[in-house]
Amino acid sequence: MPEPRRRSRTLLAVLVLVSLILITVDYRQGDGGAVAAIQRGALAVFGPVAEGFATVVRPVGGFFSAVGELGSLRERNAALESDLQELRRQQVHMADVERENAELRAQFDMRQRLGFTTTVGRVIAQPPTSVERSVLLDVGANNGLLPGMAVINEFGLVGKLTEVTAGNARVELLTSPNARYGVRLAETGEQGFLTGRGANPFQLELLDTEAEIEAGAQVVTQLFTGTAIPDGIPVGVIEAPRDASRFLAVRPYVDFTRLTTVQVVLDYPTQPTELPEEERLPSPDLPRPDLDDEP
């Protein structure tokens, strides 16, 4: 056998032997042995080098990786886009539900405070034009609604029903120039009539034209003949003290541009305009003064 070949085989045998010894030693010593310590040292040296190398080549690797995963990335992207849209939709829905929940709780509180029986109506249509001051509700005669019923929300009086069908009802808003309500000042009891003026503050005409009125005075509803508007529902506040004009401007509590749910008062009777003849009680026969006794 030639010398180089024998030397080569000897070297091969030695290297195989060294490998087997290394395997055996590492196997027997485990993590606490010298071989494991060398392994940890090698990793400590190689780690920073690999990190530096990775900084340089990672964009290249990322490119190849992205090319390899292009098909699955497209699918994942489409799925994530779909999830995102769904989450956005749910988020919007949740915000709407939370707002509506808060609104209804406040309206419930108002109803409890006033002691009415009401039904919830959802505003399904705002006025088709900016000059019309009415909204359409998703409740109607089937829910016990009748024309003339008062409509309130958590802030106060919204308006009254003017048209009612089996499933829907139209609310004439307090802002309507056609609407006229009997009101009073909560603090002083001064009475008057309130008229809507569209987007402008309400116009209040007090019966006492000389009464001194301060800005900020609260205006509430007043029972009035021929209407079903309950007494004492908040309407708004006086904006400015009385000046030379006989009218006062009233800023409404209700934001009429953001109506989404309202309460229709079901159990408040319409106030009579005249007392029915048949129900009138006879006048008692009071003793008349004896004029004959006079001198």
Partner: protein, 180 residues
């Protein structure tokens, strides 16, 4: 001799870095190319069994040392040593520079390397290998190495010629010039 060792050291370092950083990005169905094995295959086919075995041992040992605490040091050294030696012995059967031959031998080397690694791991009970994983690994490593071998042989052959000292240089000197 020192220049050759230094050049091979640089090649090994680059292969280790590629294996640690780039190979994961090339993973297909969980199986990635083995750049270290490719350099062993390339040098063995370029320079013969002796240099292939020596380089294989050193490269395998480096891979063992950098493979973490759960890996038994010596396994890759033994596997790559045997692959380098065996492939170097098959080198004379390559006709010329046929890429198909290099790819075939590379594929064989990949299959043998993973097969040996798997069997040793099973024997020593250090890996949760199943026969299915072993079969998949043999096929995947064979394919990756078959694809990469023609690419690895060129630069390793050039390096062997530039830093002569292996059997290729001796054979080339005997024949009046390098074979590749």
């Amino acid at each position: 001799m020192i220049a050759r060792a230094a050049a091979l050291g640089i090649v090994l370092l680059v292969a280790l870095l590629l294996q640690a950083v780039v190979a994961p990005a090339l993973s297909v169905a969980g199986w990635r190319p083995d750049f270290i094995l490719l350099t062993v295959v390339g040098l063995a086919l370029a320079d013969g069994p002796g240099p292939g075995a020596r380089y294989g041992f050193v490269a395998g040992l480096a891979a063992d040392l950098l493979s973490g605490g759960n890996h038994l040091v010596g396994i890759n050294a033994l596997v790559f040593l045997l692959v380098g030696d065996g492939l170097g012995r098959l080198r004379p059967y390559l006709s010329g520079t046929a890429h198909a031959g290099e790819a075939a031998l590379g594929g064989l080397a990949g299959a043998v390397a993973f097969g040996l690694f798997g069997v040793l791991s099973l024997l020593l009970d250090i890996r949760q290998f199943t026969w299915q994983v072993l079969a998949e690994g043999i096929v995947a490593t064979a394919l990756w190495t078959a694809l990469g071998s023609p690419l690895a042989v060129r630069p390793m052959s050039a390096l062997a010629r530039r830093f002569a000292g292996g059997e290729a240089a001796a054979a080339g000197a005997a024949a009046g010039g390098p074979r590749w």
